[in-house]
Amino acid sequence: MTHEPTRRAILAGLGCACCAGIVPAAARVRPADMQPLVGPGYRPSEEDELGMWQQYERFEQEVAGSNLLIRDPALVAYLAGLVERVGGPAAGDLRIYLARVPEFNAFMAPTGFMVVFSGLLTRMRDEAQLAGVLAHEAGHFLRRHHARRWRDLKRRTDFFTILAMGAGLGGGVAGTYLGDWVRLAGMGTMLTLAAYSRELEAEADAMGVRLIAESGYDPAAMPAVWRQLIGELDASAAMRRRRRRDQSLLATHPAPESRMRDLGLSAEEVRATGRHYDRGRERYLAAIAAHRPLLLDDQVKLNDPGASLYIVHNLAEDGWNGLLRYYEGEAWRLRGRPGDGDHAARSYAMAVAYPDAPAEAWRAHGYGLLRAGRREEGRAALGRYLAAAPDAPDAAMVRYSLQQ
């Protein structure tokens, strides 16, 4: 007699594992159920958490000394102030580091430090959106997600190991081979671990939307961030002529679509009628103004023109300016397919019409005009560039081309 599972049994088993794994993650977490699990000045007392904290304290030293950090004191103070505003009971305990990484991401350590990637500042349209991301990260801390995930991982790997050993020994005694069943259980374990991770992300979203609403930010900013990200991923895929990859069962985060949908519902739940909610767009733009050229520059150099153009256009929903037009042109120029030069030239021409056009826009516009045979206008534009940036690294080269 054999105990080998048939293909049908394996598929059925996987199906069950998948259902078991996905159903809890798919259910929306209600903001009302999200009470912070830590108070001010939280310190761990249990063994596993003490060990975890010790490791992360060393990790924080590495982060604090990293040469990837953007250290502008004004900007860092602005971010720290935001975290304090949306950090709930942990407001006074959270630290924030801004890393120059042009990606949409942030990270929360169990000890209370947060790493925010500069790519977030590139994409956010107002303070409420950024506050939403920071509040989501604070939610991980307030709900003790690191410890809870570690304990879940321990529990499930313990269970699986005992099961596998039991199956091996039992099979040895009975003279049958149960290895395929054990592998199946192994897959089931992986799926449930991923599902739990997604559940915690959903918790952090629910906690986050509640925190920002309580601190007076428009909670609708959170679903808006996900709508933007979905638009960006689609635009990026479309320009590469690919389809965006579907969500995998092993994903640690819920699909952007489900996050956007759940956050939309949660935002309405936490909205108090009659209360005024703030978007803080001017404050946000003022805080990042000095860094926006660098942020956009890092983005367009990622060689992801679909995403870059989407980001620029999305920011321009609040109004075009010289900087955004210039980087729109850069995204086209760097893609460099036939016809892209014309797109770029049009963007540069529009950029220089704005009083805030960066000096580089005049240079790009000038060379574009020269290429189009409009010699005098081109020379005039290059002259504007030199006047605005006389010490630019390429100033001598531009002067040389003016003499030709």
């Binding site: 063994e47 060990g51 904290w53 010790q54 040469n67 313990d158 190991t161 005992i162 050993m165």
Partner: protein
């Protein structure tokens, strides 16, 4: 060979597979520091944990503190035996008024060079240009400048890990071996040590010596030292650093 004999042979093999391994490489002209010298230990990293039933290592803060204290004490004594003065760098701010940023830069530089050494010396990605040349890597002028500014002769980079099987893990290990008797042999790993140490000569900037230590056993309860104890820590320091050998050219010269 009967079934019984196969099982016995297997158990013997399992028992032997637990072992202590070190593999050290040195610059061809390296002689271990001796006499009057100053050594700085760059933010030594120690991690001690417990192995869960499922085989994960869970860090333990108290064990780590104990092990760290014992290891550093053992290291200090071992170096003093050679005549060296040891300075332990606890934080990046700790070196004679040197900016933390400079210390961090040197650490990052070593992290890059050290990974390259591990890749090309230990992981099998051997480079034809480095064949029979021992350790042939350098941190360059930055390390020399660091040495000049701090007055240190050598920098030691040290990382040590140890882990101990929990009761549950020990039971799983025992079952895995016991299963051999009924035809289900599944020996499982338990605790074990892993450590590396690397010496940089701050007068030349060169990485002059590198050693990797591993101890492990598939038999429940069998261990090769416990760095949470004074003796165990001294044993690891002896295995890792105490048996430091000179480079090949120096040894050949000594033989003649």
């Amino acid at each position: 060979m009967g079934r019984q004999q196969i099982i016995l042979a297997f158990i013997a093999a399992v028992a032997l597979s637990g072992c202590v391994q070190t593999r050290q490489y040195a610059d061809l002209e390296f002689s271990p520091p001796q006499g009057d010298y100053d050594l700085v230990v760059m933010r030594p990293n120690v991690q001690v944990g417990i192995v869960t039933t499922g085989g994960l290592v869970e860090p333990r803060a108290d064990w780590t503190e104990q092990a760290r204290a014992h290891l550093l004490e053992a290291l200090r004594q071992q170096q003093a035996g050679r005549g060296g003065r040891t300075m332990i760098l606890e934080t990046r701010e700790g070196v004679n008024g040197m900016p933390a940023e400079t210390v961090a830069d040197l650490e990052r530089l070593f992290a890059a060079v050290g990974s390259s050494i591990v890749l090309h010396r230990y992981m099998g990605a051997n480079l034809p240009t480095k064949r029979r040349r021992g350790i042939d890597w350098t941190l360059g002028e930055d390390a020399v400048a660091f040495g000049r500014a701090t007055g240190m002769d050598y920098a030691l980079f040290l990382h040590a890990e140890d882990s101990f099987a929990s009761t549950g893990r020990t039971a799983i290990q025992a079952l895995g071996i016991a299963g051999c008797l009924i035809g289900f042999c599944a020996p499982q790993g338990g605790g074990g040590q892993g450590a590396y140490a690397s010496l940089v000569d701050l007068r030349t900037g060169e990485v002059v010596w590198f050693n990797l230590l591993q101890t492990s056993s598939l038999l429940p309860g069998v261990r090769f030292g416990d760095i949470r104890t004074r003796e165990g820590a001294a044993e690891m320091v002896e295995r890792l650093i105490g048996r430091m050998r000179a480079g090949r050219l120096v040894r050949e010269q000594q033989r003649q």
